[in-house]
């Protein structure tokens, strides 16, 4: 599977997220002659334990997420970041979780938007929306380098692309920039060869960062 980076929108100090950023991003891609290929969507679900006694909440993982990815329609991914666990399962695992009734999905987010081809790169840019509301909470960008599956081998090219991308975006005077947050996939038992499990871990961290930014913005 091609190497993928998940880019986070890092707002400038004191600025807030605006959905206008999404329009600017798609216009930037199109100005670089990116070819629109279609739409994409991913989902991330937060599960909470159903406890008889809330006092013992600390015994259970504070963050347990389930992720479904467009490129793996028959699969579902679980991530427990605090314990460095990622699991790939058939999508029927969701029915098992529902039958067990020990954990329930309390909050879900969609990532959805447009997909572009730009030379050897595939770009996806999407809004982050809670499933129960219309408010756009953030923007995510996926950058895939199609010819290479080794993260080590692709790193320099991805960094060069990111520089070009940041420069293109800087011309639009937006209150922030896209950054890549390097993750230690080894701690999750994942290797150098990129897989959907890497993507699942990436989204779990992406949402953790976004939630922290939202909380910080409120405080």
């Amino acid at each position: 599977m091609p190497v993928k980076w998940l880019l986070h929108w890092q707002p400038n100090q004191g600025s807030t997220f605006s959905s206008q950023i999404l329009n600017e991003v798609t216009q930037s891609i199109e100005s670089l002659n990116g070819v629109k290929e279609g739409t994409w969507k991913a989902t991330l679900n937060y599960y909470k334990p159903m406890l008889q006694d809330q006092a013992n909440q600390a015994e259970f993982p504070r963050e347990f997420v389930g992720i479904s990815l467009l490129e793996e329609p028959d699969k579902y991914y679980f991530v427990i970041r605090s314990q460095r666990i990622v699991v790939e399962a058939d999508s029927s695992i969701q029915m098992i979780m529902e039958s067990l009734q020990s954990y329930k999905c309390k909050l879900s987010f969609y990532f959805e938007g447009l997909e572009y081809q730009l030379g050897d790169f595939r770009l996806r840019v999407g809004k982050v929306v809670p499933t129960h509301a219309e408010t756009i909470r953030g923007v995510v960008m996926e950058v895939e380098y199609l010819p290479i599956s080794s993260m080590g081998m692709a790193k320099k090219l991805m960094e060069e692309f990111l520089e070009i991308w940041q420069e293109a975006m800087s011309k639009r005077s937006l209150p922030g920039k896209f950054v890549n947050k390097e993750l230690n996939f080894e701690k999750f038992g994942l290797g150098d060869n990129y897989t959907p499990q890497h993507t699942a871990v990436g989204y779990a961290f992406f949402m953790a960062n976004l939630m922290a930014a939202i909380q910080a913005g409120r405080g």
Binding site: E59, D90, I96
Partner: protein, 186 residues
């Protein structure tokens, strides 16, 4: 919703070879080796409004062990169920990557018991997709010590006949399983 039809029986170890020959003739397929580590988990005392159970099965017969999560419901009850000699129950399974074991521990599930099933199985189509397995059930002296497993009942083995079903077809599947089992009755 997924379901399965199940019949279970026991057989003395001395008769297993004869049963294997019979099954070879009846099923018309090659037998497959069976070596499955079955871990049964129960939710911890505080977890869930009701307690829940889930099984992790590790197929040790593959070059790389493969894992499956399985959730089995109670048998069907009621007048309809009484008419059927085969047990019909909900069953959902999912292949999982190897971290599933760590994940269930992390989620607050406790290992209730574990078994190693060693034997053989036949998988074939006869109205339904039927699987017959004959296996010795082995327990482990230490947690996860698969290599040290010893038979729970040395002179006896378990025969499992199962077939997946849906709410729409479970009657037909149960009938197919039942009719197949008649050949095994003696």
């Amino acid at each position: 919703m997924s379901m399965e039809c199940v019949v279970q029986g026991i057989i003395e170890t001395q008769h297993v070879e004869a049963l294997e020959i019979l099954l070879q003739g009846l099923c018309g397929v090659q037998r497959e080796r069976l070596r499955v580590h079955e871990l049964c988990f129960k939710s911890g005392p505080n977890l869930g409004v009701v307690s829940s159970e889930v099984r992790l099965l590790c197929d040790l017969d593959q070059p790389e062990p493969t894992w499956t999560v399985k959730h089995v419901g109670g048998p069907m009850r009621g007048a309809g169920a009484d008419q059927i000699s085969v047990m019909v129950r909900t069953m959902i399974e999912s292949k999982v990557s190897k971290n599933a074991l760590r994940m269930f521990y992390a989620l607050g599930y406790k290992l209730d018991h574990e078994l190693l099933k060693v034997g053989f199985a036949f998988h074939f189509q006869r109205t339904a997709h039927i699987s017959v397995s004959v296996s010795s059930v082995n327990k482990m002296p230490k947690v996860h010590a698969v290599d040290e497993a010893v038979p729970v009942t040395p002179g006896m083995q378990i025969v499992d006949v199962t077939a997946p079903a849906t709410p729409e077809n479970y009657s037909e599947v149960a009938a197919a399983v039942s009719s197949f089992c008649e050949f095994l009755a003696p």
